[in-house]
């Protein structure tokens, strides 16, 4: 800890967003990176706790106090090396991670937590700027071949780790480009795709082979896969969206958020797509679902020129600060106002969608009712109850369903492989991440269920260890 009283000298300062009027008119990242000096000042706030709760609650166990200290001391290269040791994609998590670390920062108990995520971002961007990060292909190869199927954060982390362990890795991706939801799910204004390309470029140079546009199980048979590779890791994500099966669902103008976002992302990147275009331009947009994906829809809709954007959530409005139900250092459900919300959206909570109303086969509005959760069931869980007389309607001609994912897509490869699933429909593995099929592993959302990027990275890394242990027999 460089400055023992840093936390008393400096207040928490986060990155500045560009002005709303400026940023809604483009897809560039909404924030301005901090200066190194500012980052140093913020790192000085880290208390280097004897029990670093941040490190404890970080799924990849980022060694936060140590790299904060290096940043404070200006030893950026070492900070990078330390960060790189636990996280394969800090430039991604540094941008989009909801940062459980910050919620468990000791300083957060009675003060504002350290800007851990942004410090992470500063470190990795500094490393790119100064060339600390460069391709470092393994000197020898084990001769073992591993296929990674799916190029989201889990697959990429797994591939990167296996490659470091000197195995030959091929990453298969059914989309045209590498990155999974990082590329097609997260809008550029939050994560510019050049960030992803920059990293993939390094990995290519380190010897990872990327095969895009190959849908394993469809374009590439699974027995060929098992024949050609010593092991395979399934990291196809949890892509089966949760649907809202209420009357009117078949009306036009109702889309899953991911359909909308991935198309928008393709548009921004000038990537071709076959489906009919979905655009918010001039439309009254309703986003159903109050989470991060919903927020991404809001931001994208505004950029596309929506006439208005409404976001509704069935759960009540979360508190703006911790309450008894989620004491420090647990990850709390708090009211989060993202950059997208700042750009304009009406948000409503405790709203249950009853049915979609439309004519000419197109949706025009949604019938809603307010709900309350004051009563609890036998297990103490709150029960939803409609508030009588509170029915109302929202006009909307583009409705985006951002209410999460159920489990991985079972059709295709998973069914062909006959892997076993857990009760929630996710791929079941043993402690080494091996599925019920020998040589086949799984990690990330496909294994864990819908989760955070940082969890996907963590799973991918852990699976790599399992695979290595399997291949090298130790």
């Amino acid at each position: 800890m460089g400055d023992v009283r840093g936390f008393l000298k400096h207040k928490r300062e986060t990155m500045q967003y560009r002005p709303v009027c400026e940023r809604v008119s483009d897809y560039a990242e909404v924030f301005n990176l901090k200066s190194d000096e500012k980052a140093r000042e913020q790192a000085a706030r880290c208390m280097d706790c004897g029990t670093p709760f941040c490190h404890s609650s970080c799924p990849v166990a980022n060694i936060i106090p140590e790299w904060n200290d290096f940043v404070y001391k200006g030893v950026w290269e070492k900070a990078f090396a330390m960060l790189d040791a636990t996280n394969n994609l800090p430039e991604i998590t540094g941008r989009v991670c909801p940062a459980p670390c910050e919620y468990s920062c000791v300083l957060g108990i009675n003060d504002d937590p350290v800007t851990i995520r942004e410090n992470e971002l500063s470190i990795i961007e500094n490393a790119f700027k100064h060339g600390y990060i460069k391709p470092n292909p393994p000197k020898t190869r084990t001769g073992k071949k591993v296929a990674v199927i799916g190029s989201g954060p889990a697959g990429l982390s797994c591939a990167a780790q296996l490659n470091k362990l000197s195995h030959n890795v091929v990453v298969f991706e059914r989309d045209q480009k590498i990155g999974g939801l990082m590329r097609y799910g997260i809008p550029d204004f939050k994560l510019h795709k050049s960030v992803l390309d920059r990293r993939i470029d390094i990995w290519k140079k380190e010897g990872i082979e990327f095969k895009t546009g190959v849908n394993v199980g469809v374009d590439y048979s699974y027995d060929k896969l098992l024949k050609e590779f010593d092991a395979a890791c399934l990291t196809g994500g949890s892509r089966k969206p949760r649907d809202l099966t209420i009357p009117g669902r078949d009306l036009k103008g109702i889309h899953f958020a991911m359909e909308y976002l991935s198309q928008s992302n393709k548009k921004v990147s000038s990537e071709k797509f076959d489906e009919p275009s979905i655009t918010a331009k001039g439309k009254k947009v309703l986003v159903i679902g109050g989470g991060d994906t919903g927020a991404d829809c809001v931001g994208t809709a505004n950029r596309q020129g929506a006439s208005c954007v409404v976001q509704i959530e069935v759960l009540p409005q979360p508190p703006s600060c911790r309450d008894e139900s989620c004491p420090w250092p647990s990850y709390p459900m708090l009211l989060k106002t993202t950059s997208s919300h700042e750009e304009g959206a009406t948000r409503k909570w405790s709203v249950l969608t009853k049915n979609f109303v439309g004519y000419d086969g197109r949706v025009r509005k949604v019938a809603c009712v307010e709900v309350e959760f004051s009563q609890k069931d036998a297990n103490g869980r709150p029960m939803m109850k409609e508030v009588s007389g509170s029915e109302f309607e929202i006009e909307a001609d583009l409705i985006l369903l951002a209410i999460g994912f159920l489990h991985p897509e079972h059709e295709g490869l998973l069914e062909q492989l006959k892997v076993k699933f857990d009760p929630r429909g996710n791929v079941k593995t043993d402690n080494n991440y091996m599925t019920s099929v020998k040589n086949v592993f799984s990690a990330g959302d496909m294994h864990r269920g819908q989760s955070l990027v940082v969890w996907a990275i963590s799973e991918g890394r852990a699976a790599a260890v399992g695979i290595d242990r399997f291949l090298m027999d130790y």
Partner: protein, 1542 residues
């Protein structure tokens, strides 16, 4: 019957008699002119009796720990009584005699006597006969009687005076003839040693009761397991007026044990000792090593007969006596022998005569000091003398009368002497010898003795010609500083192979290189013991540092650095009995942590005939090579073979004439791993010791492994002469190259070495050891988790109580580490392992306090959810996945359960709970008070910790809540320990040690001393406060008894507790404490938390409470002392299960600390030492304190949960009350299913041992201690002071006082404070004038309004803790000596005094006004360490001072009358400045002198005041630097304040 021979006192369970300590009262009387009389003998016995309070009694009130008297042979008397036994005695000097303790069994007795006779004959002497010594057994205690031997007296005729006998029995051919007293004395010695050896190796049952008190033609001793008053009554001889002697040496023993040991009573053959030899194990080993070289012209071949010189099984004093006897009989004079064995602190003493320093340096080349607190009285029958060790930690006062009579004793007043007859009242000074030669009929002063001895040989020239200094060696070829690894070596993999972690750098190495200091940490230890850790551990981690507590004092290595030395003399030693110039043919090394260039000098040495051989400590590690399967057995073979090889090589190097060997692990690579350096050093050292060759060669270690202070401490402690930690140097250079350390290379390495060396001094000092020479090989460690075969080979004699890792496991750990260096290509391998020892990390070491356990506990106590607490308790109690604590390996046996309703109530159990001693200073005020409120509500006890308590907290709030801490702690700093504080206690706790840093002092840096802290500590805002390592009034067990007595007198209602820390031997210490009348003993575990400690102490000093409490419980039960005292334990207690285990192991009460802090918000930042706690718990920062969010009800919730869990366990085990649980180890067993791989052989049998004792022996506290305060003088004083106490009327009385009147004034003062509180009475309301010699602690805790005047002499601890009173001391009007040249009072006076005045006409001993907070005192001279640690008050000294004046003095002012301008040489200038006097100063001095004269009629004061203009110029002002700065600062705002007010 002899209990000993029944085996009752033998080693059993955790009790081991080798850890017994003793300490004592010692004294002598002598007629300087050598006139023999019975008066001297009676005077000796009188002295002995009056020292009774310095001895102790055990469970049996009539059995003492031993007492005795040594006199000249009373020839006249013996002639008479021998005749009665039909023995005809020759002339005086022509026969030798001595008491012989013989077996009660007749046959065995005969056997012993026959053996005796056999050796008398063999040595050519004549047995004149045996006399049965008349004793009166009815006067002694029951226990003593049970073990009483048959006592006879043997008479042996000197054959050289009987011409016919001389050649009758030819003995060994080369035996020198017996032709003088000394020769005969040697013969008697030979006879005695041979008989002793013969009986010892015989098969008789009662051999342990065979003992020869003394066999001499000069001296004779009567002693036994007696109390002082019983000596004369028991030995009827002593009642005979014909028993005459010109000298008498007496001794009264206070032992920590009560097992009957007739033979350990003193005096021994030559000496009587008060104190303790701390370096004993090293001394014994080195003596053994020296035996190989022993030769003496006088003994000739007979020398073989007396081996081994040191008789095993003796006490430290007995062993010292063995060596002293052998050396002096081999021809060296007594003073010479004493100077050789117990040298003063000559190393840094520029004031010492060069000739004398040369003597000491010469002898340092082959004799390591017997170090430890020692006042030794010694006599050969014509000469008698006394010597004080270099620290002067034992009191020794003497009086010389005009009639040529001298009495020397641990205290004054032991003999009534007419004041007008006193010529000199003196004291023995540290390192000085007081010597009387009755043949010459004079007292020979220290200077003369030392000069005579030092002048006997040209030591200076010899040193000049022979002793090489490493600094003077030229760097030869190849002597270029390396400080980098050889090219090709990868520093990262080398670091990994030696187990370096990132933390080692971040926390330890960088910090040491940058600051030159050992790093500080906080909050204790919650990681596994090495044996249980899942991570490979360095062998060092299996050892715990030992430390001094109670029986001897630790030293302050910073403030008392003058006594410390690391100077080392390496090379081959010569026969210690001869003196030649080649004895100092050695290499002198000032800094035993060798830089690379120094090591190179030694490697390439080619001067003076020195030669160096390097021995590699590497061994092959590719067990798979050649298809040999990897197996534990195989690994062990390679490893142990390597050990054998280096031992062999080392021995061979000696035979080849090498002077030094370097054990080196350089050249390490993938195939070759290094033996753990400690194994290499230990094995070689032990091997060479066992071959009697160790002293013939210097053993130097060149290793990549050591980096922490603890590592170096161990390596030296197990025999290394010098160490070169080359990898640390290389790493530092690497870090400098990478700009991570921004320092010059030399500076950084210097800093690192400096930090290590200071750390080593700290480790030494913790044991009370002053020099590395005597620490080396002293093995002051306990092994925890090491198997016996490893101990046997490498660490012989070290205690290892739970068994553990053998060579196979140590080898495996080494290889695992080694392999990790060369495996794995992942990018994570770019880094060293995380460590996670000082900071929790996911991939680091296990911590019991981790994010999960901390947050779960906080959640539980905040919500009051017991289920959540159970979740927490589960996290702590079930450590099966990664065991941390010893207790986690235990499980409860199945038992008959009872209903929870049958279990005693929570309320009753709360009474047994306490929160730990955390000072207001270490934790914030709000945190401190929250604990107090909570504990008071529950009915438990909170603890003030060191540092006082705001008196406003003594009064409860209107709603009944109280912030008053029930336990008031008294620690070495005595901060805030006022009389009023003491009387507001339910319990007064003497903190001897604390778990996090036992044996060390503390320091509250100035920036933490806020206004409120300064107020509660009665000091000045912003001024650093130092707590010394020892209580300066507790240097031994009888001193502790005295402090207990002081405190009990002050507040008779409070129970007195003593806080000890678990370590091997704590049980015997506790037995001593129980005998010193403590009501409760707290055994703290070494893991305990703290505000700030050196991290090596947090980790490596102090054992676990499980060991400490069970050892203590077992020892007390075995001694039948358990019933007198309650036991408490603490140190990382967390759950109800912890309490249950503590109870079953023997504790009645339980302390919680860290857990309570966590409940109040602490999340283990471990920043307490930075004053930076962001939770407001452990900080004094005003802003941060406001962040504190702890709540009383949450603390109450916590203890409620703990007790609820505990009651559940009680019900399960079928205990209705806690009392039923105490010491019931049969309900516990080892849970062997969860043992980690390394710990498969762990052994809990000693911990779970239950001594088999008769039902009458209590196994928990059942009676109240008798403090013997019913008849103290204060009871009378209180009666006399009634008008003052009741109506504030002035009282004036005169009384007689004697040395047995101890702690006079304390109880009276307690009464004053009870009625009048802190402010007491108006000055001079109660006036007592005493006449005579006061006992210890005269005027202790004297309250405001009480004035004590003493006409006569005073002993130690005058004015201790004085809280506003006034003390006036002057000589009896009848005396003719000059008071200003004589000692008027003893050592450690006005210790921790808060306020008041003192006027002492005459000189005070050592440590005058130590830690004085505010007393204004005048004195006419002081001994060493004057005004040490003083923080306030004014002191005027009208005469000379001793050395080290003002050490650690952070506040207050001293004015010293420096007539001959020598004072500056006496000062320790670290914290003070000497200044000229200002006008204000002159006024202060003048006023004080005026008073001094008025009260004492001091002629010195008068002379100065009469000519104040001129005389005042001779004063120097001693001003602490920081104090000056603060005073100035305080003035400044006042000035600006005035301006703004205007």
């Amino acid at each position: 019957m002899f209990l000993i021979s029944n085996g009752v006192s033998n080693k059993q369970g955790l009790y081991d008699p080798q850890f017994e300590h003793d300490s004592c009262g010692v004294g002598f009387v002598v007629d300087v002119k050598g006139k023999k009389s019975n008066n001297i003998v009676s005077a000796g016995l009188e002295v002995l009796e009056r020292l009774t309070h310095r001895g102790a009694v055990g469970a049996d009130p009539k059995t003492g720990d031993g007492a005795g008297i040594l006199i000249q042979i009373p020839h006249e008397f013996f002639k008479k009584v021998a005749k009665e036994s039909k023995i005809s005695l020759p002339n005086q000097g022509e026969y030798g005699t001595g008491l012989v303790f013989l077996p009660q069994d007749e046959l065995e007795r005969k056997f012993c006597k026959d053996e005796f006779e056999k050796f008398i004959k063999q040595e050519g002497q004549t047995l004149l006969g045996w006399r049965s010594v008349p004793v009166d057994s009815s006067v002694i205690g029951e226990t003593a009687r049970e073990t009483e031997p048959v006592i006879e007296q043997v008479f042996i005729g000197n054959c050289c005076h009987r011409g016919d006998a001389i050649n009758r029995v030819p003995t060994v051919t080369n035996a020198p003839t017996v032709n003088d007293d000394m020769a005969f004395e040697r013969k008697l010695y030979l006879i005695r040693r041979q008989v002793e050896n013969a009986i010892k190796s015989s098969s008789i049952k009662q051999k342990s009761c065979f003992y020869v008190t003394n066999l001499s033609c000069r001296t004779f001793s009567y002693k036994g397991l007696l109390m002082p008053y019983q000596v004369k009554a028991f030995f009827l001889d002593l009642q005979d007026k014909d028993v005459k002697s010109c000298l008498a040496l007496v001794h009264s023993r206070y032992s920590t044990n009560t097992f009957p040991t007739w033979d350990l009573s003193q005096p021994f053959r030559f000496l009587a000792h008060n104190g303790e030899i701390n370096t004993l194990r090293g001394n014994v080993n080195w003596m053994k090593a020296k035996e190989g070289l022993l030769q003496s012209e006088l003994f000739g071949d007979d020398i073989e007969k007396i081996k081994s010189i040191i008789v095993p099984g003796g006490s430290d004093s007995a062993m010292l006596d063995n060596v002293l006897e052998m050396i002096s009989l081999s021809g060296k004079s007594l003073p010479h022998t004493l100077m050789m064995l117990i040298p003063p602190a000559w190393e840094h003493n520029d004031l010492m005569d060069q000739k004398v320093r040369d003597f000491y340096e010469y002898h340092a080349c082959f004799m390591e000091p017997w170090d430890g607190p020692a006042a030794i009285a010694v006599t050969d029958g014509t000469r008698i003398g006394a010597l004080l060790d270099r620290n002067g930690l034992r009191p020794a006062r003497y009086i010389i009368t005009k009639k040529g009579f001298v009495v020397m004793a641990s205290e004054m007043g032991v003999l009534d002497i007419d004041p007008s007859d006193i010529e000199v009242s003196g004291r023995l000074e540290p390192g000085k010898i007081f010597f009387i030669d009755t043949e010459e009929g004079r007292i020979i002063d220290d200077n003369e003795i030392k000069n005579t001895v030092a002048g006997s040989k040209p030591y200076g020239k010899w040193l000049k010609d022979n002793l090489a200094d490493i600094d003077g060696l030229s760097p030869n070829e190849g002597g270029i500083a390396q400080s980098r690894l050889h090219s090709g070596d990868n520093i990262l993999s080398t670091l990994k192979a030696f187990g370096y972690t990132r933390e080692d750098f971040k926390v330890i190495i960088n910090s040491m290189a940058e600051t030159g200091k050992e790093p500080i940490g906080s909050m204790g230890n919650d990681t596994p013991l090495a044996l249980l850790s899942q991570k490979p551990q360095l062998l060092y981690n299996y050892f715990k540092q030992l430390f001094a507590q109670v029986t001897n004092p630790p030293i302050d290595p910073i403030r008392e650095e003058i006594v410390m030395s690391l100077q080392t003399y390496i090379g081959s030693q010569k026969n210690m009995l001869s003196e030649t110039e080649s004895h100092c043919h050695k290499l002198k090394v000032k800094h035993p942590i060798l830089k690379d260039e120094d090591l190179n000098k030694i490697k390439n040495i080619n001067e003076n005939g020195f030669k160096t051989k390097t021995i590699s400590t590497l061994f092959k590690v590719s067990p798979d090579e050649g298809g040999i399967p990897q197996s534990r057995l195989h690994l062990t073979d390679g490893f142990t073979q390597a050990i054998d090889k280096i031992c062999h090589d080392a021995e061979f190097a000696i035979d080849e004439g090498f002077s030094f060997i370097i054990l080196s692990d350089r050249g390490f690579n993938k195939e070759k791993a290094a033996l753990p350096a400690l194994v290499a050093i230990g094995a070689v050292h032990q091997h060479l010791v066992s071959k009697f060759k160790r002293t013939q060669i210097g053993v130097i270690l060149e290793s990549a492994e050591p980096r922490e202070v603890h590592h170096f401490g161990l390596l030296f402690g197990y025999g290394a002469d010098c160490i070169n930690p080359y990898l640390v140097y290389a790493s530092i250079v690497d870090l400098i190259d990478k700009k991570e350390i921004k320092l010059d290379k030399d500076k950084a390495i210097f800093n690192y070495i400096d930090a290590v060396e200071h750390g080593i001094l700290k480790i030494l000092s913790k044991m009370g050891i002053s020099t590395l020479n005597s620490y080396r090989g002293a093995q002051i460690f306990e092994a925890l988790g090491i198997a016996d075969d490893v101990i046997e080979k490498c660490f012989t004699g070290t205690t290892s109580r739970i068994g553990g890792a053998g060579f196979d496991i140590i080898a495996k750990e080494t290889i695992l580490r080694h392999k990790s260096a060369f495996e794995g290509e992942l990018s994570t391998s770019l880094f060293l392992a995380t460590g996670g020892v000082y900071q929790w990390k996911k991939d680091g070491e296990t911590h019991l306090w981790n994010p999960q356990s901390i947050s779960t506990l906080q959640h539980a106590t905040r919500t009051g959810d017991y289920n959540k607490y159970k979740e927490f308790a589960g996290l702590i109690n079930d450590q099966s996945k990664s065991p941390v604590t010893l207790r986690s390996l235990l499980k409860f046996k199945d038992a008959k359960t009872i209903s929870i309703d049958a279990v005693e109530s929570e309320k009753l159990i709360y009474k047994r709970l306490a929160t730990g001693a955390m000072s207001f200073g270490s934790i914030s005020r709000a945190a401190h008070e929250t604990l107090a409120f909570a504990m008071n509500k529950l009915g438990g006890r909170s603890n003030t910790g060191e540092g006082g308590e705001d008196p406003s907290r003594f009064t409860p709030l209107p709603n009944g809540d109280s912030a008053r801490s029930a336990i008031k702690q008294v620690a070495s700093g005595r901060f805030g320990v006022t009389t009023n504080y003491l009387i507001n206690a339910d319990e007064i706790q003497i903190k001897i040690a604390q778990g996090a840093k036992p044996g060390e002092g503390g320091q509250l840096p100035g920036h933490k001393v806020s206004a409120i802290i300064a107020k509660t500590r009665y000091t000045t805002l912003g001024v650093t406060l130092i707590s010394p390592p020892p209580h300066h009034d507790i240097y031994s067990i009888e001193d502790l008894a005295q402090l207990i007595y002081d405190l009990k007198n002050t507040n008779p209602q409070a129970r007195i507790s003593v806080k000890l820390v678990s370590e091997i031997g704590v049980g015997t210490v506790a037995a001593g404490v129980a005998k010193g009348h403590a009501d409760m003993i707290l055994i703290s575990g070494g893991d305990g938390g703290t505000g700030a400690s050196p991290i090596s102490s947090i980790k490596h000093a102090g054992a676990y409470w499980e060991l400490g409490i069970s050892e203590t419980h077992q020892t007390l039960v075995l001694n039948n002392l358990r019933g007198r005292v309650r036991l408490q334990t603490d140190g990382q207690m967390r759950t109800g299960r912890d309490i249950a285990i503590a109870a079953l192991l023997g504790a009645e009460e339980y302390g919680f600390c860290t857990a309570a802090l966590i409940v109040m918000g602490c999340v283990m930042l471990r920043h307490c030492h930075l004053n930076n706690c962001s939770l407001g718990v452990a900080t004094q920062d005003e802003l941060l304190s406001q962040r504190f969010m702890g709540r009383v009800d949450e603390v109450i919730n916590y203890f409620g949960f703990v007790v609820r869990e505990l009651r559940g366990i009680m019900a399960e085990l079928g205990f209705r009350t806690m009392d039923e649980m105490i010491g019931r180890t049969e309900f516990l067993e080892l849970n062997s299913s969860i043992l980690p791989w390394k710990a498969k052989d762990i052994d809990f049998s000693k911990i779970l041992y239950k001594p088999k004792m008769p039902a009458s022996v209590a196994t928990r506290c059942v009676i109240v201690q008798d403090h013997n305060i019913d008849k103290v003088l204060d009871r009378e004083l209180i009666k006399l002071a009634k008008p003052a106490l009741e109506k504030s009327q002035v009282v004036k009385e005169e009384l007689e006082i004697k040395n047995v009147n101890r702690t006079t004034g304390a109880m009276l003062s307690g009464e004053v404070c009870k009625r009048y509180g802190e402010s007491g009475l108006p000055t001079d309301t109660i006036n007592f004038k005493f006449k005579g010699v006061s006992g210890q602690s005269f005027g202790a805790f004297l309250a405001r309004g009480v004035t004590f005047e003493l006409s006569g002499l005073a002993n130690d601890y005058v004015g201790k803790g004085m809280s506003g009173g006034k003390i006036i001391i002057y000589p009896d009007p009848k005396v003719t000596y000059k008071a200003e040249n004589n000692i008027m009072m003893g050592n450690t006076t006005f210790y921790g005094a808060i306020a008041g005045e003192a006027y002492i006409r005459g000189v005070a001993g050592e440590r005058f006004c130590i830690r004085n907070s505010g007393v204004n005192a005048v004195v006419e001279g002081v001994g060493d360490h004057g005004c040490e640690y003083m923080t306030g008050g004014h002191v005027v000294i009208l005469g000379k001072t001793g050395r080290n004046f003002g050490a650690g003095m952070s506040g207050g002012v001293a004015y010293v009358y420096d007539e001959d301008k020598t004072f500056n040489k006496m000062c320790n200038m670290e914290m003070i400045e000497l200044e000229e006097l200002s006008k204000e100063d002159l006024t202060v001095i003048r006023d004080m002198l005026h008073n001094h004269f008025r009260y004492t009629k001091s002629s010195v004061a008068k002379r100065i005041v009469d000519d104040f203009g001129a005389e005042s110029k001779k004063f120097l002002k001693v001003m602490p630097k920081e104090y000056k700065r603060i005073l100035k600062q305080m003035e400044e705002p006042k000035k600006t304040g005035e301006v703004s007010d205007g």
